[in-house]
């Protein structure tokens, strides 16, 4: 029948319109009831209507692996940088946006610490290869994507001061990775302790013999 396509289309549009409200009524408490903040969309499979997020009032819940600009981790307790200025991140960076100056001691000998560490975020392509290949778990990808500024120079050139974050921040944005890392560290330490104990036992045996 001529015109049936148009009627069908109108019906679908009407259904979408209504089910958007139905979806919200089903949700207890309603999305718009109070603090419109973080929306978890991972269960949106059952939703029928629209699922627009009213950014910036609302935010989408980011998955743990979400990556944006790299950050440098330092130990929250000791304040020590994990970075040893080995330069692997600078070597693997596809757009070559990482600049590292290795620190030197008084005699001019290089030490395993960065004196300067710059990431040109105007060039960074958020690929995450630096974090993936860092052997010291020192560089990670941040979740904060709201870095817009008025000027490119120098606001978007992140130096050591802008990049350093404590381990607590890392634990907060990537709880799963953090737990795995802690477990691996604990296992390593236990292994080391066991080895030390064994060695001590052997030494005492030898000395007694």
């Amino acid at each position: 029948m001529f015109g049936s396509g148009a009627l069908k289309g109108l019906r679908v549009t009407l259904r979408e319109f209504v089910s958007t409200y139905v979806d919200d009524i089903k949700r207890i408490p309603s999305r718009y009831a109070g603090g419109r903040e973080e929306i978890d969309q991972s269960s949106a499979g059952e939703q029928h209507g629209l699922f627009t997020i009213q950014y910036p009032e609302e935010h989408r819940k980011l998955p743990e692996r979400f990556r944006y600009i790299p950050i440098l981790i330092y130990d929250a307790e000791t304040g020590e940088d994990r970075c040893t200025a080995c330069g692997i991140c600078a070597k693997v960076c596809p757009p070559q946006c990482i600049w590292i100056v290795r620190a030197k001691d008084e005699s001019g000998k290089p030490v395993t610490r960065p004196a300067e560490f710059c990431i040109d975020t105007t060039i960074c392509m958020n690929c995450g290869l630096c974090a993936e290949f860092c052997p010291f778990d020192a560089i990670k990808m941040d979740h904060n994507f709201e870095i817009a500024t008025y000027d490119r120079m120098p606001q978007l050139l992140f130096d050591l001061k802008a990049l350093r974050v404590p381990t607590t921040h890392y634990a907060q944005i990537r709880p799963g990775d953090w737990a795995a890392e802690q477990a691996a560290r604990a296992a390593k330490e236990a292994e080391k302790a066991a080895r030390d104990a064994e060695r001590a036992a052997k030494a005492s045996q030898q000395s007694s013999a």
Binding site: G5, G9, E116
Partner: protein, 594 residues
């Protein structure tokens, strides 16, 4: 093989070599003297015999599909490489190589008369490498503009802000005091122009569109034909919503009918291939995301397959499954967008496109959970994938594949497929016959909508596609409607593959044993790997010389080559239909312009 010349018979060297060629080299009987050498990486062909051999291969050997034309700048010569396949009868690649020792003025005959699909590819080679193709109907720059100086893929070419021949750059570590790119280059942008040439005074040559304007056809025959209507040149794009990006169609119209059309592209050109040659192998993976930015997972897959072919890596079982799952989800995403925006071009403003995008968001959520990014996934690695699937991922994917997407597809079918306005606008529009689409090197849904049963997943299975049960969808009509139907049905086939893969995915490692390497060792050689990307045959051609950076890196972009037939499809239709025909090709400018 090498031809040995006996010192005793030096007087008849010419004769004896000819004799040897005819008896031992392939096609020596059919096209004498065409093949100079039968090397492991293909047949080295004499330039002057190329078209003759090409015609023979097409007509008698069944190599009716010219998959890729590219060129390599070797230290002592330039080489043009042709990859041929058979579409009617799938067969392994036939590689032809033509060597041109004269680097100052390289030229060889064009094969456009044999395979029209060579048109844009030869223009690209001319543009990027400066090789002239004699007899090409329209040999001018394609990605760069007419006033451009130099040929970027020559090894001696240095781009603006050139720093070093290969990454990683030495200035970054250990004394990497930051410098802005503008300050780093003493001559600022180091763009050079031809001698005595002023960019401000340059105007586009008037005769550039002579061909489509029919300037040369309008001779006065005396019978009053010159009093016909005047052709008008219309520029659609580069800023035009119907061109899906910065793409320009120059159409010559007679009234409302298109009488000639020329696609202009390159507005998004960044010389992906030159960047790829500066990069190390692993650095290229995130750059492939930016080719067709809707299908980054497929692009990753195509590239890592090419490098794995060179390295001889064995991919763990679980990683193979993950790759197939990601590639098929990508196909669904791409087809949803293609279908949605096809309706946009028809004037169904944004409703189908938004419904398609909504489902895409759910799939992108899955990509994001696994890889960390929605569009620039950067997920595949040489030998596997970068991270295992997070907890609960497979359940979410299963829910989507078994419940939501079939339901949505039903809705889509109900809403779109039978719509009479849609049928009226798309039936019989932009028809390509099976023969034409093969000759034009069309790929993917475009080829299959012309009734050609050809799918790289079937013809030359890669990864673990040979294990899955799916149909190759074809449609005999060859018009825009058929392209839509093929895409719709391919979504169902992708869902079928996904169901099998999600059920069969084993536990296990996702990378081969050993430490993760950021500097991979790739043995010298060359590899061309092609996959059935959502938009067609996506090929990656990698030449290694054993160094950390590829010597040559070329992308066979399906949408770029699919555009070759745009003029052919549009001529004779109304100008409004050309928008729909372009929409049905489903171009993404990140890939077209590279």
């Amino acid at each position: 093989m090498t031809i040995k010349t006996e010192p005793a018979a030096r007087t008849s060297v010419q004769e004896s070599t000819l004799c040897i060629e005819e008896t031992t080299l392939p096609y020596g009987d059919a096209v004498p003297g065409a093949v100079l050498e039968d090397s492991k990486s293909g047949l080295v062909v004499a330039a002057e015999k190329l078209t003759e051999l090409a015609t023979y291969l097409r007509d008698h050997e069944g190599y009716d599909y010219l998959s890729m034309v590219t060129s390599i700048d070797w230290p002592s010569y330039l080489e043009v490489v042709y990859y041929l396949y058979g579409v009617g009868q799938p067969k392994p690649a036939k590689v032809l190589r033509v060597r041109l020792p004269d680097k100052a003025n390289p030229a060889l005959p064009s094969v456009v008369s044999v395979w029209p699909g060579a048109d844009f590819q030869e223009r690209e080679v001319y543009d990027m490498m400066g090789i002239r193709f004699e007899g090409h109907p329209n040999l001018r720059r394609i990605l760069l503009w007419e006033g451009f100086e130099g040929h970027p893929l020559r090894k001696d070419y240095r781009e603006s802000y050139f720093e070093e021949d290969a990454k990683p750059y030495k200035s970054r570590h250990p004394d990497g005091a930051h410098l802005w790119a503008e300050d780093r280059v003493p001559w600022k942008d180091n763009v050079s122009y031809p001698v005595g040439w002023d960019p401000d005074l340059w105007t586009q040559p008037e005769v550039q569109y002579r061909r489509i304007m029919g300037v040369d056809d309008q001779v006065d025959s005396g019978n009053g034909s010159k009093f016909g209507t005047e052709r008008v040149l219309i520029n659609m794009g580069p800023q035009h919503p119907s061109t899906h990006g910065v793409f320009r169609m120059v159409a010559a119209v007679d009234g409302e009918s298109v009488v000639g059309l020329e696609p202009e592209m390159g507005y998004l050109h960044r010389c992906h291939e030159k960047i790829g040659e500066r990069n190390t192998y692993i650095m290229n993976i995130p750059y492939t995301d930016r080719l067709d930015y809707i299908t980054s997972m497929s692009n990753n897959l195509g590239y890592v397959l090419a490098v794995e072919k060179l390295m001889g890596l064995q991919v763990p079982e679980r990683a193979e499954y993950v790759r197939v799952i990601m590639a098929e989800f990508t196909r669904i995403v791409s087809h949803f967008i293609a279908i949605g925006f096809l309706f946009n071009d028809l004037g169904a403003y944004f409703t189908p496109a938004l419904y398609g995008l909504r489902e895409r968001e759910l799939i992108l959520d899955l990509f994001e959970a696994a890889s960390g990014s929605r569009m620039m996934c950067n997920y595949m690695r040489f030998g596997g994938v970068s991270a295992d699937l997070p907890e609960g991922w497979i359940e979410r994917a299963k829910e989507l594949v078994t419940n939501r997407l079939p339901r949505v597809m039903e809705e889509f079918e109900n809403l779109l497929t039978g719509n009479e306005i849609f049928l009226m606008r798309t039936r019989g529009i932009g028809v390509l016959t099976a023969k034409e689409s093969t000759a034009y090197s069309m790929a993917g849904p475009m080829l299959r909508a012309s009734g050609v049963v050809y799918d790289v997943r079937r013809a030359e299975p890669y990864s673990i596609y040979s294990r899955f049960d799916f149909d190759v969808i074809t449609q005999p009509e060859g018009d825009v409607w058929a392209r839509f139907i093929v895409r719709m049905r391919e979504i169902y086939e992708s869902l079928r593959i996904l169901r099998q893969a999600l059920d069969g995915i084993p536990e296990g490692p996702i990378m081969p044993p050993g430490k993760k390497q950021y500097q991979v060792r790739v043995p010298p050689g060359e590899a061309y790997s092609r996959i059935e990307g959502p938009k067609g045959e996506l090929g990656f051609y990698v030449v290694s010389d054993g160094k950390p950076n590829p010597y040559r890196y070329h992308v066979r972009a399906p949408t770029f080559i699919n555009l070759t037939s745009l003029a052919k499809m549009c001529v004779g239709h109304k100008i409004a239909d050309s928008v729909v025909i372009l929409g049905a090709i489903d171009i993404v400018l990140g890939e077209v312009d590279r």
